[in-house]
Symmetry: C2
Subunit: 243 residues, 2 copies
DNA sequence: CGTAGGTTTGACTGATCTCAAGTTTGGTGG
DNA sequence: CCACCAAACTTGAGATCAGTCAAACCTACG
């Protein structure tokens, strides 16, 4: 039995609707999008920088990230992704990838032709607006990361990354923001925060020692959310109530 | 004699047309946008974080930047802007500002109601596509900044910022990329690169000492563009041939 | 001239990195 | 079920890049 759009895109529709403007036809337009399914283990590349891309991927299960590299081999993760996230919506209009998309756990995703998305956006103004708004929020998160990496010290950066992950997790309906399993390694946290793995490890240790978080392997328990937000200088406004 | 849309929006139309899809009606739709003019000296705030905003500003002359701040007073500039740039296109769809927009020189700008822009986008698919693409390129630049600040050393960061400025300047038709007057102070470069003003000064000195650039006050002469790009690890692909 | 903002320089400090050696964890095959 | 292996995590010691503090010097402009 082949996958049905209505099932597959459920989380995406819920997410795009968070500003409450969809009617039945809008939902149908999305559910009717043609797609194929992708599936891969941890570390699988979904898109590579410089690829010509005429389709967009939507994460359905598992976790992924986008990253870019410097010519001397440095890797910078520019975003983490949860189920329901568009991984490269920009390929609706831009045909060449300027970043890599890679899974960080086992994952599945839907692949939708860019022109099908463009048509849905053309026919359904509410869909267009939701997609565009998603793009804008994406950009807002990048700005926060520029601030985080450029102007906060190591402990705050790591704490901020955890706060963002917890908040988006909650918003995506994946459970409590105060207690969760991290999908990413400390090396990946380092690549996202502009630090080294060794220092990330020490900062996580420091947050534990402060009694702000408790850890068991990759399980994180944010014991004191208030203090955590203070240390992280975290204000969720930049997420615009996004996933 | 009041300003005419056709004159005022000339640079914007040229910029939006860089993918060559406008017909006469598209151009007319933009030229016919209602607007008011803004004008201010250096350091004038055009938009403040948390403001409710239902209009979008387009820079017509002078230079501006967008920035965010940490709670302990750190300032991070997240982008610089040249004439022809949209300063807050996101307010077409998002009614609350998550960053400040501030001039860095004397400047003038056009203020267009968000709903007028939405209508132009609704009626003219080519305009919509151009505006959306602008948003996407904006985001691509943020990603490059995350990489720049997160993974390059101080000298490269400063060099990269200069390369980007030079390239966008050229693309916007403002003259040679190899010889120009910097509109921003070293403190502003520091706020954009996640460094301190003192260290920016030393890095500029180092680039001069290397013979890669020559300086006279704020005038910069990129003597050896090849070497400059190498030091900066600069590849203009992320600008997607943008302004 | 006098003043304020911007730039330059020096000496010292410190946060983060590097290198290196363990230790733990999770998966795999016997 | 256990032994083994690779990957991930942890810890320590020393090095370094960039920050801090402070003073001097421009230079534009009123």
């Amino acid at each position: 039995m082949p996958a049905e759009g209505a099932d597959v895109f459920g989380s995406v529709i819920r997410r795009l609707e968070r500003f409450g403007r969809f009617d039945a036809s809008d939902r149908e337009a999305i559910a009717a999008l043609p797609f194929t399914l992708g599936r891969g283990r941890s570390s699988h590349y979904i898109v590579r920088e410089r690829d010509r891309v005429t389709q967009c991927a939507i994460l359905l299960s598992g976790y992924a990230c986008r990253h870019r590299t410097t010519s001397d081999g440095g890797r910078q993760i520019v975003s983490f992704h949860l189920p329901g996230d568009f991984l490269d919506l920009q390929h609706m209009l831009i045909p060449v990838a300027d970043y890599n998309v890679q899974t960080i756990t086992e994952a599945t995703w839907a692949i939708v032709p860019a022109n099908a998305l463009r048509e849905a956006a053309r026919d359904r103004p509410a869909v267009l607006e939701a997609l565009w708004r998603d793009t804008l929020i994406d950009a807002s998160v990048f700005r926060e990361w520029v601030l985080n990496i450029g102007r906060r010290d190591a402990k705050s950066r790591v704490a901020h990354m955890l706060c963002e992950f917890a908040t988006r997790r909650k918003a995506a309906g994946l459970g409590s923001p105060e207690r969760f399993e991290l999908p990413m390694s400390q090396e990946q946290i380092a690549d996202a925060t502009g630090l080294t793995p060794v220092h990330v490890n020490r900062m996580l240790g420091a947050l534990s020692a402060d009694g702000i978080i408790a850890r068991d392997k990759r399980r994180v328990d944010i014991v004191d959310w208030k203090r955590m937000c203070r240390v992280a200088d975290f204000d969720p406004a930049y997420l615009h109530a996004a996933a």
